[in-house]
Each structure stands twice: as structure tokens, then as C-alpha cells.
């Protein structure tokens, strides 16, 4: 598919003997808002961290806009410990059987290619994230928080930046930051310390900071955590607005079901690291497996 933005294939993340994410497959298309939900400890944030390069997955591959960005197979000690599926799918020795794989040729087939880029490289490709527990730069103002995120798209080097050879770029960046702050409604507090903002605005600022890196895909890790219903409603419309305005694709993790059902085009549900369901909000709401995962199943013999 041409407008595929993110494809997660057979991703397994195992910490020691614990399988946090088990053979996850996901696909996100351009302009979609996709939610990743699941009970606590289901492996949602781990999946996020694999996609953004914080962790190298134990097995599997992630591609972004058709380009493979993360790829790994069980190596070293993990070879023995590995409990997931498709253990040989991404190794050098792997030869596919049947015709099905010919349609989707794997450029790394037959090579032991392992891709473990650091998060900054992935962000440079056009993928920006926010954090579950807000991680703003505490000693910096609102304006500077967003301005620092612009550092990624600089053209100046250390020398030109020091001796102010980049005045034009600097001025342009400052204008862009101001524009961005206007859009997200933080213009009036731009000179305040980031940590002095109320909680809801700090969330907004984190999103603005991520937007400043010019992403194609925005990953939001529990954007409504700790928000009251009114703030959640505001956030819901805000996420829709930025999708339309910046023409980006959004993947979000969230526990507030109102928000998820309101804005998601599609939903993936994780439980104990495994994907148990995917589909439109309507399908998910009526999915027995999902209901069981959230409410628990009654055991027959008590």
C-alpha cells in the first residue's frame, strides 16, 4: 500500500524471561488516528518504545513509510531464552516457503541485517512522541522548549551557530515556534517556565514540542493521563484539529475510553503482550475477547 506510514511486523520484546510484547503486527495508514489500548501492563508502552528506538526488539521489524527502520532477531543469550514466535524469520538463514512472500520482497533477505537506530535517528525520519509521565525540559521556558525541538532541523554547524552565521534560520525558527504556539493556544504563556504551567497545558506543550520536529507520525503515550473530563474533551478535539491542520498520522495509547472511541479510526487491543483484537471502535466495543480482557472472565469452578 502506498500510503502506509507505519508497519510493525512480528515484533517481540522479551526482557529476560518475560515476554512484554508477543508477535505484534500493526499497520497504520496516512492520516489515520489509531489507538493502542489494553489493560495495565499489556505492553503498550513497550511497543511504543520499540517503535521509537528506545528498545531494540528481540525479534521482528518495523518499517516507516516503506523503509525498514528497526529490525532484529534473537541473538546471543536470547537465542536460548527466546519464547516468542518467528524466531528465524529475520535471521540470515531464513528462506521463505511458498509464493506468498514474493509479493512483498524483503530487501534484507539472506543478510544478517540488524537495525538498531537510536531514538534521535528515528525522530529525524519524521516520527515524534510524547511521554506517559510528562518530560518537559524543566529549566526552560515554554518558548524554548519548542525552540529546542527545532534543533533537529537545523542546517547550521557548531561554528556558524556560534558566530551567528545562522541568523536567518534562527529568526525563521523563532517565527515558526511562535506560529506553532499560537495554534496550540500557548502563546500567552510563552515566556513562563514550562513546569509552572497547569497540567493540561503541559500536555499541550509536549505535543507542540513533538510537532516542532516536523513529524509525519505523532505518537502520544497516554495524552489524557491525569486529566479531568473537561480537559479530556478539550484534548479530544485538539488531537483531531492537529491531525487536520498538520496533515499527520497519529498513534496513541490511552485509557480514557471516551477519548479513544471518539477520535480513533481504528483500534488495536493488546493483552499480556498479545494482540487480541483490532478494528473500528464499534467492532472493538462489541468484541467479546476485549470485554473479557478488561472485565476478567469468571472461572467455572470456584
Amino acid at each position: 500500500m502506498a500510503d502506509n506510514v507505519l508497519r510493525v511486523e512480528n515484533v517481540t520484546m522479551q526482557f529476560g524471561g518475560v515476554v512484554a510484547v508477543n508477535n505484534l503486527n500493526m499497520e497504520i495508514n496516512k492520516g489515520e488516528i489509531v489507538a493502542l489500548i489494553g489493560p495495565n501492563g499489556a505492553g503498550k508502552t513497550t511497543a511504543f518504545n520499540v517503535i521509537t528506538g528506545v528498545y531494540a526488539p528481540t525479534n521482528g521489524q518495523v518499517s516507516f513509510c516503506g523503509k525498514t527502520i528497526v529490525r532484529n532477531h534473537p541473538q546471543g543469550k536470547m537465542k536460548k531464552l527466546y519464547q516468542g514466535e518467528n524466531a528465524t524469520r529475520y535471521t540470515a538463514e531464513y528462506r521463505p516457503e511458498g509464493e506468498a512472500d514474493k509479493e512483498n520482497p524483503d530487501p534484507y533477505r539472506g543478510t544478517a541485517h540488524v537495525l538498531e537506530p537510536t531514538p534521535d535517528k528515528i525522530t529525524a525520519l519524521g516520527m515524534a512522541r510524547t511521554f506517559q509521565n510528562i518530560r518537559l525540559w524543566k529549566s526552560q521556558t515554554v518558548f524554548d522548549n519548542v525552540l529546542i525541538a527545532k534543533h533537529l532541523r537545523r542546517t547550521s554547524n557548531l561554528f556558524t551557530a556560534t558566530f551567528r552565521g545562522n541568523k536567518k534560520e534562527e529568526a525563521r525558527q523563532r517565527e515558526e515556534v511562535l506560529e506553532l504556539l499560537k495554534i496550540v493556544g500557548l502563546e500567552d504563556v510563552k515566556d513562563e517556565l514550562s513546569t509552572s504551567l497547569p497540567y493540561g497545558k503541559q500536555r499541550r506543550l509536549e505535543i507542540a514540542r513533538a510537532l516542532a520536529t516536523d513529524p509525519k507520525l505523532l505518537l502520544l503515550d497516554e495524552p489524557a493521563a491525569g486529566m479531568n473530563p473537561q480537559e479530556t474533551d478539550e484534548l479530544t478535539s485538539f488531537i483531531g484539529e492537529i491531525r487536520d491542520q498538520f496533515q499527520i498520522t497519529i498513534l496513541l495509547i490511552e485509557h480514557h475510553m471516551n477519548l479513544v472511541m471518539d477520535i480513533s479510526d481504528r483500534i488495536y487491543v493488546l493483552d499480556f503482550g498479545k494482540l487480541i483484537a483490532s478494528g473500528t471502535p464499534n467492532e472493538i466495543q462489541n468484541n467479546q475477547k476485549v470485554i473479557d480482557a478488561y472485565l476478567g472472565v469468571e472461572e467455572d469452578d470456584a
Binding site: T118, D120, L147
Partner: protein, 395 residues
Amino acid sequence: MIQKKKSNKANIIFILALLILIFVLEQTLPSSSMLLTVVKKSAIYALAAVSMNLLNGFTGLFSLGQAGFMLIGAYVYGMLTIPVADRAAVYQYFDGGIIQFSIVEGLSGVLGNVAGLILGVLISLIIAGAIAGLLAYLVGLPILRLRGDYLAVATLGFAEIIRAFFQWEALGPLTNGSNLLRKFTCLDDFNIVVDGKVAVYLSTTVLVLIVAACILVITLVINSTYGRAFKAIRDDETAAEAMGINLAKHKMMSFVISAFFAGVAGGLLAMYQTTAQAMPFKSAMTYEILLIVVIGGIGSVTGSCLSAFIFIGASEWWLRFLDMEKYNIPGLNILRPGFRKVVFSVVIMIIVLFFRKGIMGENELNIAGFGRWLKQIFTKKKAAVAAAEEGKNNG
């Protein structure tokens, strides 16, 4: 923005006035004056402290290798500027050493004495810094992966190894082993001499000018987009990396820049002391610089400069009387050699206790802001007095 420009102007005028004041003082005071000594030494320490602040305060990397980089700077500077004729005397145990040129002399031959001196010293200082920076790069490759205390221990160890290394006899032809390097171009060579008498004293002014230029460059780095990235790394590494800042690259940049200016400071220290030897560049020197940084405020350039002056002034000059038994009050014989250090330690403890964030915190001294602050205090007092009087009238 307009206000910022205005306050910048005020600061520039203030710094120029300071330079002129130093120049005038240098002409009027005797050259052995304690004030000039303190100004010179504190200028050098200010540069070392600001370079350490760039790393420890602005990038959040706790490094204790400053003395090591200063030592490299001092030695490289010395080795490059000893006149050829004096090399036999300096390297007397090593057949005159293996370097047989002096940058200052070489350039003087081509450009004339004045231009040769200025350019030669500047180039030698830059090379001194560059070699310190190069070593920082090589050392940084493995140790910048460490965090917090581990990095501090690794850099401290590096500085001690460097100190031992430079005293190694096998390196004698280059470093003169454990003997002094001397006779290189020093600050007094900048004084203008007419008929065997000094006509214009320039040693302090030149030193302060070089230090000011270096600190200006560091300030420019801190306020550039790279400096902002450093601060982001200090505040939250994970977030910085997620926003596309390459941690390894930026940490290395900060480490190398810091080492470069520490090297320059080392070269200047050699110029000031007129000799260079590995012995005094102990970890105690790093701790002195660290103290200056902490007292001035971690993350404040002007704080480091201010506290360098206070620190050096107090330890070299103002507290001297505590060491002299002749100032003792009869019957209370507490003043004796070494007592100065006791009082000094107590003063530092008090400062650290009551100014947790140092004198300046993370703020910068700003002349216009200082004026506004004074005005505010004054008007507040007036307002308070007025309010009190009103209260009286009402009561």
C-alpha cells in the same frame, strides 16, 4: 527584544569600562600589587571555571578532568614558545629536546616583533587548546557513555594519569620529564619597554582581553542552538533524545569545547606563572575550580567569573592576615600560619548552606537588570516607609 538589546549594550559598556579600569590600574599600581596578581589569577581561573561550567552546569555531565586538560594546555604552550637559544638550558638533561623551533620567534622573524608576539602567542594558545580538545575527543569516546559519578571518577583518573604521564622520563625530550619548562613567552613580554624601562604595562590587560574573548565565545556557544540542545540534555536526556538530539555527538561537542578552553586556560596559567610543571595540576586544582563553579552558581557564566574573583581574592589576599601572628589580639593567640584555610573552609560551608544554588543560581549578571533591581529595592523601601507613615496617621 528592544529591552534585550539595550541591556546587551549596557553590558558591553560595563565590560569595556572594566577593561579600561584594569588598564589604568596597571599603569598606576606597582607591578607587584596584590590587586593585579589577584586579577590575573582570577581571570585565568574564571576561564577554567566557565569552561567547566559549560560541561558540568550546562550539559549536566559531571566531569573532574579540568586540571588534566589545563596541564596539557600549559605544557603544549610552553613547548611551542621556548626560544631556540634557550632550549639547551631548559632541556639540559635531554640534549636540548626534540622541538627546535618557537612559534613566537618564527613569526617574529617574518612579521616583525609586535605582530609576531601577538600572533605567535594566540596561535600557540589555540594549538594548546586544540591538543587538549583532541585528547578529550579520544578519551571521550569510551568514557562519555558513563553517567553521573562514574564519569566523574573516570575523568578524575584520566587527569591523574596525564599528570604522571607528563613527568615520565622517557618523554623528556618533549616534556622535560619532571623538570620545569621555563623561559617561554610569558605575560611580561607584552609590556612595552623603552630604554630598559617599562613604558606601558600591558601584561594584565592582555591576559584579561584573551580571557574575555574566550568567555565571549563560550557564551555565544551557550546561547546558540547547540547550547540550547546542551541544556535540553541536562534537563532530560530521554526527552532530548526523543526530540532528535544525538546524545553522543552533543555530549562529545560539549566535552571537547570545555577541554579546549581548559587547555587555553592552562596555557595562560603557564604564561602567568612563567614556568610549567606537572606537579601543581593535581586534583586539588580541579576541586578549586569546581568550588568556584558551585559558589558562582552551576549554570551561570557571570556567576563563575564573579566567584573566581572572590575565591582567588579571599584565598590569596583578603584572608592573608589570618596567617600572621603579629595581628593577634594579646591573650587570644588563634592567628597562625594555616588558620586562613580554616576560616576559608567555614566561609565556603556557609555559602553552600545559605546559597544552595550559588551566588547567581542559573541567572546571569545583567547591568541593566541590576539597576532595575536596585531601583526596585529603593522604591519598595519608599513604599514601605510611606505605608508605615500612613498606618501611623490612620492609627
